[in-house]
């Protein structure tokens, strides 16, 4: 039992009360779906159609998340920096990226930033006489890459706030002890402060990863064939909306549950000796 007042709880607390019944409920649901998929041609059709988009969904998430955390880390260090220029640049980015919907950011990156960037590269390529750069076209930048860039931009701001919160929650004595041993600012950060920060923010990071996985479905607006796009295309041609969307939702649910379990496992590993 956790929770600040769990010791005041007077309801059922035996073995039955503590069992994770929701796992059983989900397992039942999964069995039902597996059975339907195996026995009904429509369901197995849809299942394999959606499965064909799974690689894209996973790849977009797996590419965007580490990059977003890296961007968030750089930004968080800016946010806590005594250097006024860095601090203000970081705050400007966080406030802007947090305040614009992810979908809108995807459109902006895909249809404004990338074409402008390509234009700039062409101009620079022509200036230095590089034919391959000067001949670059916007269509050379895949929609998948644009989506990943947009998700990194949007989630980098969240990760920055998460990391800043984690860093500033550490006791001052940790940084002092590290610096008093002669560690430089950078060494203290990487050997002492960040390892503790990541342990502390693990639950939030897990949440953000799950959230990013779900938001990866937005790639479908650019026609990228992830699991959402595959399900939509299937439904649009066969009018099997109920079946397609049910299975699609279950795909996401299965993925997010797996992630949640993974994060729980990590948390469990670190919880015992956390500060």
């Amino acid at each position: 039992m956790i929770g600040p007042d769990a010791h005041l709880y007077s309801g059922p607390s035996g073995r039955l009360a503590r069992a994770p019944w929701w796992v059983l409920a989900l397992a039942l649901g999964a069995t039902l779906v597996a059975w339907r998929t195996a026995t009904s041609e429509v369901y197995s059709d849809i299942f394999f159609r959606i499965l064909s988009g799974l690689g894209v969904t996973l790849a977009v998430t797996a590419a965007a998340f580490p990059l977003a955390v890296a961007l968030g880390l750089a930004t968080a260090l800016g946010l806590v920096s005594p250097h006024p220029v860095r601090r203000n640049l970081a705050a400007l980015y966080v406030q802007t990226a947090r305040g614009v919907p992810v979908l809108v950011q995807i459109f902006i990156v895909a249809f404004v930033v990338v074409p402008l960037g390509v234009e700039g590269v062409r101009w620079a390529g022509a200036a230095v006489g590089s034919a391959s750069l000067a001949g670059l076209r916007a269509s050379d930048v895949s929609m998948t890459a644009r989506v990943v860039a947009a998700l990194v931009c949007a989630y980098g701001a969240f990760e920055a706030e998460t990391l800043r919160g984690g860093l500033t929650s550490l006791p001052r004595g940790q940084a002092e002890a590290a610096r008093a041993l002669g560690l430089s600012q950078r060494q203290a950060l990487f050997h002492v402060l960040l390892p503790q920060t990541f342990r502390r923010i693990l639950p939030t990071l897990g949440n953000d990863l799950i959230s990013l996985l779900k938001d990866s479905s937005l790639v479908s607006v650019l026609g990228v064939r992830d699991i959402t796009q595959e399900a939509r295309l299937y439904a649009n041609t066969t009018f099997r909306y109920t079946e397609s969307l049910t299975l699609l939702a279950l795909f996401y649910l299965a993925l997010t549950l797996l992630l949640a379990l993974g994060v729980k496992g990590l948390e469990h590993r670190y919880r015992r000796h956390a500060a």
């Binding site: 002092e176 041993l181 560690l183 503790q196 342990r199 500060a275």
Partner: protein, 247 residues
């Protein structure tokens, strides 16, 4: 060999001033930390003892005055300060062990990262030092599994691992109950006997009397009286010092 008095002190503060807003915590203090000697800094709470000590390794950057290390003034530049801190160990009131590392890893971290020791030699160094502070059997424990006294002894081992020219103790026993204090003071007594250069901010008058070569008594950001403990603690000339030690 040069006579004692002619060697420059390991650490020296000259005209140190540190203000926090309107409060002047350290008000123009000059002290010397001499080699192989124990300097105890005593005084009432809020007298600026800890701030003075923290200025010596630039945990606080003084507003004016200078700190000399081995006779040379220390400039407040990142690289120079890192080098100073690598040579001057500090032990904190709250121990400040790194909770994400095992006890031996706490000790081995700085030698590995700062001094560039290999993992294996840093580990054996850590084992030796933990043995010296009586924690050989706790090397593979997590800091949270140790008692306060054990944590502070591990923190002393961690500071010793950098082979410091001087060790600064900032109220090392103030967070400990009386029983645990003794095991930490015993380690410090041994270090003093072995000739470790130490500056100790403390409320342990008995320890200062028995171990210190010099006692610095502070009040309101100034040094009121300094000298051997037999003089400052047992026969103070200053009225304020007398009131403090008559208890």
């Amino acid at each position: 060999m040069q006579p004692e008095a002619e060697k420059p002190p390991i650490l020296e503060a000259r005209g140190l001033v540190k203000r926090f807003g309107a409060v002047t915590a350290v008000d123009g203090i000059s002290i010397e930390i001499r080699a192989s000697r124990v300097t105890a800094i005593l005084g009432p709470s809020g007298s600026g003892k800890s701030t003075l000590l923290r200025c010596l390794n630039f945990m606080e950057v003084p507003d004016s005055g200078e700190v000399l290390f081995g006779g040379k003034p220390v400039r407040a530049r990142d690289r120079e300060l890192d080098a100073l801190r690598a040579r001057v160990g500090m032990v904190f009131q709250q121990f400040n062990l790194f909770p994400h590392l095992l006890v031996w890893e706490n000790v081995a971290l700085a030698p590995r990262v700062v001094r560039g020791l290999t993992g294996a030699s840093a580990r054996s160094l850590a084992q030796n030092l933990l043995c010296r502070v009586g924690l050989a059997d706790k090397a593979d424990a997590h800091p949270t599994q140790l008692s306060g006294g054990q944590q502070q002894r591990a923190a002393i081992a961690r500071a010793l691992a950098m082979e410091p020219a001087a060790l600064l103790f900032d109220e090392p026993t103030s967070a400990l109950d009386p029983e645990l204090k003794d095991e930490v003071l015993e380690v410090m007594r041994t270090l003093a006997r072995e000739g470790t250069t130490m500056a100790v901010v403390t409320h342990e008058v008995a320890f200062a009397r028995a171990v210190a070569h010099e006692v610095v008594f502070m009040d309101a950001g100034r040094v009121v009286e300094k000298g051997p403990p037999s003089q400052v603690i047992d026969a103070p000339c200053n009225e304020r010092t007398r009131r403090f030690f008559v208890r």
